[in-house]
């Protein structure tokens, strides 16, 4: 492991902005998609009950 401290870890050798934006955006997209599909499923279930 090459990190001496937490600050060093977040700084990413000066590239923190780029690295954390990349990983943060990826995490947001994945979690957001899961939530979107989950909500879509809830409303699809409600819709299919309403008709039949």
């Amino acid at each position: 492991m090459q990190w001496g401290s937490l600050t060093e870890f977040f700084a990413m050798g000066g590239y923190g902005l780029y690295v954390w934006t990349s990983f943060g955006a990826t995490a947001l997209c994945l979690v957001g998609e899961v939530l979107a599909v989950w909500r879509r499923h809830v409303s699809a279930v409600a819709g299919s009950r309403g008709v039949s």
């Binding site: 492991m1 590239y15 780029y18 990349s22 955006a25 997209c29 599909v37 499923h41």
Partner: protein, 253 residues
């Protein structure tokens, strides 16, 4: 027509697929969580600092897996589209519909993380280079596919039109892949290839491959979940006919 054939058709019916997918989703989701967790750990705590790019290279652990998924998912989507057109099979069209948004998301992520990597290494967020431009076109293809489907009210026509669109567009995938060889590009060549040994440290390659496996499992889980939504939504369409509802069947089990 053997036994295997009849089994395949059994699970290709939406009524059988719906509960089966429901049972598979937690496993793929758990595998995705574990793999992405392990990949992040190796990527941030085991893999060494790159001697040329410093820590910025760590973007590779999301950039390359996302870019690969954007292409893999397009090819898989196009195969389902082709199967749908060839066999006139509705579940195949539904798979095409279920995969597209996830493919679009990974394409967007590949472009975004690429910009985040391009700025510190090339000094530019974006260049009109063959690799970047063809990947941007892939994003437009995904978006076009989703909009095309949404713009056609008749389901059968929407299915066929978007399947043709997906099939024609698959030509862009080899263009993206080979763009770094065919043209002089700023984008670096393949980091990992089947024929040559990797140009990176083993731990870097391991982290990247584990992340990619995690993204695969994620994509399968989310596609199955969206497939279930599509099945329920289409059930409401009058063309479905008077069959027992999928939800009823699932609850009866």
């Amino acid at each position: 027509m053997g036994l295997a054939h009849s089994n395949w058709f059994k699970y290709s019916s939406p009524q059988a697929f719906y509960p089966l997918a429901g049972r598979m989703i937690p496993w793929f989701a758990a595998a995705a969580l574990v793999l992405i967790g392990v990949g992040l750990y190796i990527g941030f705590f085991v893999a060494p600092t790159d001697f040329q790019q410093g820590e910025s290279y760590r973007i590779i652990f999301v950039h390359v897996p996302a870019a690969w998924m954007s292409m893999f998912l397009y090819v898989i989507m196009a195969i389902w589209a082709g199967l749908g057109l060839g066999l006139n099979a509705r579940p195949s069209f539904m798979m095409t519909q279920a995969i597209a948004p996830t493919g679009a998301m990974f394409t967007f992520l590949a472009l975004l993380t690429g910009a985040m990597w391009g700025k510190p290494t090339w000094g530019a967020w974006w260049v009109w280079d063959a690799r970047l431009t063809s990947e941007l076109i892939l994003l437009f293809q995904y978006i076009g596919l989703i909009l095309l489907r949404a713009s056609i009210d008749d389901l059968r026509r929407a299915d066929r039109a978007s399947a043709v669109f997906a099939l024609v567009g698959v030509v862009n995938v080899p263009i993206i892949y080979f763009s770094v060889r065919w043209w002089n590009t700023l984008h670096q060549g393949a980091s990992v290839s089947m024929t040559a040994s990797p140009k990176m440290a083993t731990t870097m390659v391991t982290a990247m491959l584990v992340m990619m496996l995690g993204f695969w499992m994620y994509s399968i889980a989310v596609t199955l979940a969206r497939m279930r939504c599509v099945i329920l939504e289409r059930e409401r369409q009058p063309s479905w006919g008077k069959q027992a509802s999928v939800q009823d069947m699932a609850e009866a089990r």
